[in-house]
């Protein structure tokens, strides 16, 4: 059987998910053998995934109702739900200041203290100049042909 790369990939995904709905996986495989169309298989596979046909069946869990102290319950909830660990996902070093907050902050600075933008632009220019100077200083260091500093050259560097 000659199959394209995309069909191979679709078959691999299908085999991976097959244990969750064997009759559907078998039907898709059987029909793919007849049609020999990777596009058809991908379409059917994506629709099956969207419809949740390969979703893991939920195993019912018995409730374990135990009388518990409120303080212990709060501690358990914090521990189980992981509420104590905060992760900054805002893209800025300041927690809670994300994209929209940064725009609002910029708007407020522009309207209330527009002169502060000189400091911001100055900071950016100074940072770029400092970075360029660092790159230039690094490029003047003695290095071998392979781009590494060797022992002999290191001695010269310290002597200078």
């Amino acid at each position: 059987m000659k199959t394209s790369h995309s069909a191979h990939l679709a078959l691999a995904v299908l085999n991976r998910l097959a244990c969750r709905n064997e009759p559907l996986a078998g039907d898709l495989l059987e029909e793919f053998q007849a049609r020999q169309s990777g596009l058809w298989l991908w379409g059917q596979l994506l629709l099956a995934l969207l419809m949740g046909s390969f979703r893991q069946p939920r195993v019912p869990v018995a409730l374990n109702l135990t009388p518990i102290d409120p303080v212990v319950a709060a501690w358990l909830a914090e521990r189980r739900l992981g509420m104590t660990k905060k992760v900054n996902l805002t893209g800025t070093p300041i927690e809670g200041v994300g994209g929209l907050s940064a725009v609002i902050l910029g708007f407020l600075l522009s309207t209330v203290v527009p002169d502060i933008w000189w400091f911001v632009v100055g900071g950016i220019v100074c940072g770029a100049a400092f970075g360029t100077a660092m790159v230039l200083a690094r490029s003047k260091r003695p290095m071998g042909a392979d781009g590494q500093i060797h022992n002999g050259q290191l001695k010269d560097l310290f002597a200078a």
Binding site: A18, A25, D27
Partner: protein, 109 residues
């Protein structure tokens, strides 16, 4: 409480199972639907409707034999019990009642 009527897709699936006979599983059912409707049918959509019909007692399923072209996976064979036949007849009766008395539709038949 009145028995709920079948949707058009559910009715088509029941009819496809009855037309296919003893070996009614996903592929021949989807092929029957494609031949009748002249459009592509998602096998997953067929299974979703079959699961819903089975929960309502309109179809019954059992596991069949596995074949090499299916990667050794078993077929799920479907049949329509008497409750499903009754539901199909009631849906047909409702559709025919709605259909009748519409000359512009009768002419096209």
């Amino acid at each position: 409480m009145a028995r709920p009527l079948l949707t058009d897709f559910e009715l088509m699936i029941l009819l496809a199972i009855l037309r296919t006979g003893d070996q009614a599983y996903g592929v021949p059912i989807a092929r029957e639907l494609e031949a009748a409707g002249r459009r592509n049918v998602a096998v997953a959509a067929v299974y979703a409707a079959l699961d819903r019909l089975e929960r309502n007692g309109m179809v019954a399923s059992r596991m069949g034999e596995s074949t090499p072209e299916r990667g050794g996976r078993a077929r799920r064979l479907f049949q329509v019990p008497s409750q499903g036949i009754k539901a199909a007849r009631e849906t047909q009766r409702a559709l025919v009642a709605l259909w009748s008395g519409l000359p512009e539709l009768e002419r096209r038949l």
